[in-house]
Assembly symmetry: C2
Homo-oligomer: 216 residues x 2
Amino acid sequence: MREAFHEQLDGVFDDLAGICRSVETAVRLATQALLSGDAAIAEQVISADADIDKAKEKIEDTCFQLLSLQQPVAGDLRVVVSALRMVTELERMGDLSVHVAKIARLRVPDIAVPEEVRPTLARMGEVAEDMVCRVEQIITTKDVEAAIELGRADEIMDGLRRQSFAELFADEWAHGVEAAVDIALLGRYYERIADHAVSVANRVVYVVTGDFPVDV
Amino acid sequence: MREAFHEQLDGVFDDLAGICRSVETAVRLATQALLSGDAAIAEQVISADADIDKAKEKIEDTCFQLLSLQQPVAGDLRVVVSALRMVTELERMGDLSVHVAKIARLRVPDIAVPEEVRPTLARMGEVAEDMVCRVEQIITTKDVEAAIELGRADEIMDGLRRQSFAELFADEWAHGVEAAVDIALLGRYYERIADHAVSVANRVVYVVTGDFPVDV
């Protein structure tokens, strides 16, 4: 009985890593659509989100089965509930990628991001994608050190967001209010993807050690 | 044993309604700080958030006790897991109120919202506060009809957000990029509060009927 439980639980974590890979693709393609103004790629991100939702439902069903049939207590119980929370956050990261793709699509055939802020937004996209990729590794390897390290990447994202505001609010800004609003919202979406990545990584720390990292 | 379980579960829902009241206060005061540029009220929202976090932890602890000691199955299990999800969303609504309060504080002694968009932002604040108030009632009375009705208030919020964009992007806009970005982000925060309110209400429908409302 306990062995079956842990096998099923390993399956849940494999599925969580799988969703993470889908989110990584969503972040990468959404950024690509954004910086190139490519409507087809934006559509691809938007339509692929249904698969992430389906994968989420599958994990939720398995977790409910585990809770219901195996009635785990103590540590095992907390691991299953953590998995339920992780999948909610990963699905939300997919939604945020869709928000990025929708801003890209809205401005086609133009590119939503004016040329001089494109490097900052490109870096945001890269950092977000890298963080999601590292979360996938952290889920797979249960590497606590790597999970704690991820908090530092989040600081880079915060710095990029401040930089984007500095660019928007500079006297030289010549792209009007609409582009500025797009960039402020895009910055918010990338920042939230990064926040959720850190949160998922912290849940892995909790699953392994029974404690959340300090200051979380 | 079952009676003790249902008593404890009732206590959890009372506590959820209590958090809802704290969130309602946070939304109301954050809007007030925003529209009046009152730093003291903004500070009050920011510092009161720690109480919401504490109340959340209390509910989570009780839910884990219920899962661990009573090992509920089927419907009872889903109610406890729903409660865990509701408290996460309510706490997030508190965080979003803090974001509103922080924009208010950042612009003191000025008022972040220029006069001509103040009515729209004031309406957003009212609609958000009203939705949180109704969620509290829905949690207390388990009123499925009222929960489904809440989705319509969310449409009003979406309409207000479109209106705020129309105001920002109008040729007459004379308040520059910084104020426009503030308003776009404020709109996003109020919209998310409304989204979470609908989601919490839908979870009540699920707790009562075993099904989510259509299109959720």
